[in-house]
């Protein structure tokens, strides 16, 4: 089914999409039908800048297990940053 809902957050950073680098302002996370990944459902992550149009997007489609691993890896990486290096 289509879940019709997404977690949406504001982000600060850059992303490289089909048209090159762009300033990322938002990210959405949802579990729904993937476009390319061969599964019925997948965890989707879109890093976007709506002000630049729908094509300013970096998309991920991951199975549930690898999505959790990715989330944990991000947290481990941040937790492992040496004291004083972490920028806001």
């Amino acid at each position: 089914m289509c879940t019709y809902e997404a977690e949406r957050i504001s982000v600060t950073g850059s992303a490289k999409g089909a048209n090159g680098w762009f300033r990322a302002t938002d990210a959405t996370v949802y579990y729904d039908h993937p476009v390319h990944f061969g599964a019925g459902h997948a965890l989707m992550v879109d890093v976007i800048n709506p002000a630049l149009g729908a094509s300013s997007r970096v998309g991920l489609e991951l199975n549930a297990e690898s999505a959790r691993e990715l989330a944990l890896a991000i947290l481990r990486s941040l937790d492992g940053v040496p004291a004083g290096l972490l920028e806001r």
Partner: protein, 241 residues
């Protein structure tokens, strides 16, 4: 058969992108195809062409073209996800405009049906409860009889008394959205309202069994269900009004 991308003037005077496939036959019925949530994609355009190859004029509005003009279908779908989907009023307006476009074609017999897949299944029922149509097909549409909290997808049971045409429902027994229990609830409600409907529930199939580019595709079930669609539209869309 001729297939092309067109611009269709919608209810709000906005021009929306649509994919049109027309048959060379005379006195042809029309079908409005509503794409699934993943968007106005190649598989949906193939469905539009399939209707034309079988003697109907068919059209699919890109429901995301207002907000994402010119974007690829997957980028537009992602943007639609970020917005929470398409408002019901806009959907009904776009389907109504598409139906009017079909009726204005020179070889139209003035009969128009609607069909939708996945989220489009619910939207097909919504359209048939909101517009004057001749036949509607709901392919595994969820959230017809139940709402999803904090979502634009709300139950449309209050609209069922307004169903304007016969309804064909095609569902997979292994689907949970809609589940067999939800399908049974819809069956009871339509019976209460004395509506003309036919449901088929297929063993060995879950959600999206028509989707040829997805692992959910069940070719034997899809072939059988397409046969039901041809029979249903043949009965309700073929003759002149």
């Amino acid at each position: 058969m001729r297939a092309e991308t067109i611009q269709c003037n919608s209810f709000d005077d906005q021009s929306v992108e649509a994919y049109l496939a027309t048959t060379e036959g005379e006195q042809a019925g029309g079908v409005v195809v509503i794409h699934h949530f993943p968007g106005y994609d190649e598989a949906t355009k193939e469905i539009v062409r399939k209707f034309a190859a079988n003697g109907y004029n068919a059209i699919c509005v890109n429901l995301y073209s207002r907000e994402s003009p010119g974007a690829s279908s997957d980028d537009a779908a992602a943007a639609a996800h970020a917005r929470g989907g398409v408002p019901d009023e806009q959907l009904v307006g776009d389907v109504g405009a598409a139906a009017a476009y079909l009726r204005a074609l020179p070889n139209s017999n003035q009969k128009v049906g609607v069909i939708g897949y996945c989220s489009g299944g619910r939207q097909s029922v919504l359209s048939a409860c909101s517009l004057d149509l001749d036949a509607a097909v709901d392919c595994y549409g969820a959230f017809v009889v139940m709402s999803r909290p904090e979502s634009t997808m709300t139950s449309i049971v209050d609209l069922l008394p307004n169903l304007s045409c016969p309804l064909l429902g095609l569902f997979g027994v292994d689907d949970q959205y809609p589940s067999p229990e939800q399908t049974e609830t819809l069956r009871k409600l339509l019976t209460q309202h004395a509506k003309d409907f036919t449901f088929h529930e297929y063993e060995g199939a879950g959600h999206a069994f028509f989707a040829v580019d997805r692992p959910s595709y069940r070719p034997e079930v899809a072939t059988e269900a397409w046969g039901e669609i041809w029979k249903f539209y043949g009965q309700h869309l073929s003759s002149a009004k």
